[in-house]
Symmetry: C2
Subunit: 533 residues, 2 copies
């Protein structure tokens, strides 16, 4: 107890309001030395989009593997709501510590290993992942709905309540269901982050026939608890953490992003004029990246007031949106600011804490709630095609980037679904070597049945109610880069003629040529600007 | 009034309980002679999957066009919840009377015209179509949410209530929202069908921010009214109809269907044993066609009791399912029996009327309710691919069959999503000329993120939790026809090697060869059994 009492620091005392947990305080070195972590374990972490992930234990485990040459010998199936950080999962990937990874990831090495099939990865709609986990879909050899599905779960808390429940940090994600599925729990109590208490609204994933309506009717409704319930008997270790979330600086917004944002803002004004949107709009969802940042930045300076947000991740430009008194309330599953953004966020805390709520990803991304609220969804794909399908995941159909994420939770169920992308991207040989508008997506994550609006810096195609051939003409006309327009037009005309001649022209394609642009960019020419079809 | 009083038949008196509507009684000839119907009108009909559609007016309008050589000169945009019948929409298609058709259809001529782009067709998730209509997405040039979007709507009723509201027949579909969107309504009161009063539970499509939780928690919950509300001021004509729904005989179940059904029943028993399904299963959705009929037939003779159904369409074998006391309650948006099936249905009416409810398609197909109830969804595609994407709509990527229908309302949101198909279909040259398991679907309606189980007569692949390369191996092994197995295996091995060499092997494909099987079946060889890759 002498050793333990030394661990009851002022920090721990101020954050852990359940004294019986003090007896489980330990150091990460002792935990690892105990031999608890074994090769082949199914492991869960808290965290979502680079915030709220456990730091001390994963980093110490990586060091343990590196020091003892255990690379490839201490491997885990890793379940996290979404991505964590380079210092944890990417370092684990380098050390061969990840056998499987679900359902979303970020990191150069993780991606490399996934594309070499040394890490088995399956992405999944983020709203469904926690329910699939609880339903036993990742543990098919186990019987029953209530079995402990994950051998160990490592969770970061910013406080522990009197009842021993978890107050998370900057993300909720799938942590409630991951904790619910745990056989054993390692608690990392972070004493350098602020205590986020009161910012969360937590509900647990229930499965049929024990599932009830989600009664959220407004973005600021609360239907859950401010904590993640925790069965304290499962806790095998409590460890103090003094590490901050390692987030990156926010991406610079280029000219193309601003032009895309302007196209979208103009369109939203048009919809208000036409009476299809209320003057304060409907709740917005905005993806991550520089276009999303530009759109939110544009809204912060734009004509709309009292705007609400129902989204997955809150990024830096939302701070302006609030500060300019345009954003009235935001709901998300994580706040993933840059380091300077977090500084601003904490300075604005007193004002923002009543204008923000963080929910479970099964709620932030819930089809039920998204459809009810009439969310306006906006995301960036790898590419979209002339008929309005989009590819969010696989470059040239085969190389995984990060995963599907919540893109289709939102785009499929929103009232207005908007896909925005620059019209081109550079290759080594050609500054516009990749057209993001193609004849057929090389991988399809969002179908033509899901998308209403397609936008690039060149224009906006509103394809609601249009037949495929009408969509194709409009998308090529409005969205394609001028250099690709004649190429795509020629393709469409040839395909239409060919398919008309065989009575099969509802959605004209030429299956022998459809990926010619993709094949060309994969070849030595390294550009989609083909000379002929 | 003399002319009108002759129209107040015993049939009309027994069905129309709102006497003020008698003054609007007319004959279809007088209605057409009045010149009300004009070229270019947007028109809505009641009806869903061949039942409950208006018959008198559409058939008389077709005769009018034929007699007066108006082919191609009296054209309408036609909005119906789903398909109607050959005697109406297919005859209209022959007469060039359809300019646009949303969102689903059946009929040889309709399909031919759609594939020649003489009818502009866009298919859409059936749950979303009514909301898109009410939201003005098919009438983008009109202002406001509440404008009358359809110039005229023709509705079949089996009775009219004291308040002047509509009691539909064998389907609800999108009729509530179509009526809600009407400027003018023509009522066809069917006096030869039974009065279906009491069988329906009707809710109207509302749009955000006026949308509330749907409180259905059990398949037999009722949350609406037994009628479709109707503003009687919109009624321009009331016409008596003495025509029955023209349905077809149900398809014969072949040996392959029975083997597929057995594979699924075995799997469901396994899931019960593993504790992932309750012993009475979860509510079932079953598509249309002979495999669906075989599955329901198998359940009627199978081990499960007190089974519930939450589906879109009820077909003939459901009658056995009820009669064998295995089916406790069914919810759908239409009952589409064969003529002999309807005879049995009416004989069983007294028993069945408390074990069946017909709802709006926005509810029967609601993602919110499907996910809450944990529906087990089963559908037949055109083809599925080795990674678990499916094509429900376009043969060889370009020729439209019927449309997406509700397939992905169910498959996307269900607790268990099952795609079943025969492993092959015949061509003129080859009895197994088409493999329904292909390297990449030529059109994608359901993505790999949506499907759990893929089944053919050869076996069942449970791909839950698997990475793409694991899925591919399992799907080829379990589902492909023995003659296609080596072809698909060779493709996968080649693709994996090629993609591994460039570090892009998460979902291996060869874009230059991926549609070679499709191209070969489209060629003179007319088979997918290619000799080499």
């Amino acid at each position: 107890m002498g050793a333990v009492s030394k661990l009851i620091t002022e920090g721990i005392k101020s954050r852990v309001r359940r004294p019986s947990l003090f007896s489980k305080l330990t150091t990460v070195d002792d935990l690892i030395a105990s031999g608890f972590f074994k090769n082949g374990m199914r492991m869960g972490w808290s965290g979502f989009t680079g915030v709220g992930y456990p730091k001390v234990t994963p980093i110490a485990l990586a060091e343990h593997v590196e020091k003892n040459n255990l690379q490839g010998k201490l491997r885990f199936d890793l379940f996290v709501g979404a991505s964590t950080a380079s210092e944890t999962e990417d370092r684990w990937a380098k050390n061969g510590m990840i056998a499987r990874r679900y359902p979303y990831q970020v990191g150069k090495t993780v991606q490399k290993e996934i594309n070499a099939n040394r890490i088995l990865f399956a992405d999944k709609h983020l709203s469904e992942f926690p329910l699939d986990l609880v339903s036993g879909y990742y543990t098919l050899e186990k019987k029953g709905n209530d079995i402990e599905k994950l051998d160990v779960v490592i969770v970061e808390a910013t406080a522990i309540t009197e009842e021993g429940h978890i107050i998370p940090g900057a993300s909720v994600g799938a942590t409630p269901e991951i904790v619910q599925s745990a056989a054993h729990v390692v608690l990392e109590v972070n004493t350098v982050l602020p205590n986020y208490e009161g910012l969360h609204d937590i509900t647990l994933g229930k499965f049929a026939p024990y599932k009830f309506p989600n009664l959220i009717q407004r973005v600021d409704d609360r239907v859950g608890t401010p904590y993640i319930p925790l069965d304290n008997d499962k806790v095998i270790a409590v460890i103090e953490s003094e590490k901050l979330d390692k987030t990156s600086d926010s991406e610079l917004q280029d000219d193309a992003s601003h032009r895309i944002a302007n196209n979208i803002l103009e369109f939203l004004e048009h919809e208000v004029t036409m009476g299809r949107l209320p003057i304060h709009l409907l709740p917005l969802q905005s993806g991550v990246g520089n276009i999303a940042n530009a759109i939110i930045g544009g809204l912060a300076d734009g004509p709309f007031t009292d705007v609400e947000v129902w989204t997955e991740v809150i990024q830096d430009t939302f701070l302006d949106f609030w500060e300019h008194h345009k954003l009235s309330f935001a709901s998300a599953t994580s706040v993933a600011f840059s380091p300077s953004g977090f500084k601003r966020f904490y300075e604005m805390w007193d004002e923002l804490k009543d204008r923000l709520v963080l929910r479970s990803q099964s709620v932030s991304n819930s089809p039920e709630v998204i459809r009810r609220l009439g969310v306006i969804a906006m995301n960036t794909p790898v590419e979209f095609d002339i008929y309005g399908h989009a590819n969010s995941t696989h470059v040239c159909g085969t190389r995984m980037l990060n995963g599907l994420g919540g893109s289709n939770d939102f785009l499929r169920n929103s009232k207005l679904s908007i896909m925005h992308t620059p019209s081109t991207r550079p290759t080594k040989n050609d500054p516009i070597g990749i057209s993001c508008v193609v004849p057929m997506c090389s991988h399809i994550d969002q179908t033509e049945h899901d998308l209403d609006i397609l936008v690039t810096e060149h224009g906006l195609a509103d394809v609601r109610g249009l037949a495929p051939i009408e969509r194709a003409k409009l998308i090529i006309e409005k969205c394609a880069h001028p250099d690709y327009k004649p190429i795509l037009k020629e393709y469409f005309d040839m395909a239409e003629n060919k398919c008309m001649s065989i009575g099969a022209a509802h959605e004209p394609q030429m299956l022998d040529k459809v990926f010619k642009m993709h094949l060309n960019v994969m070849s030595k020419e390294n550009t989609m600007r083909i000379k002929s079809w």
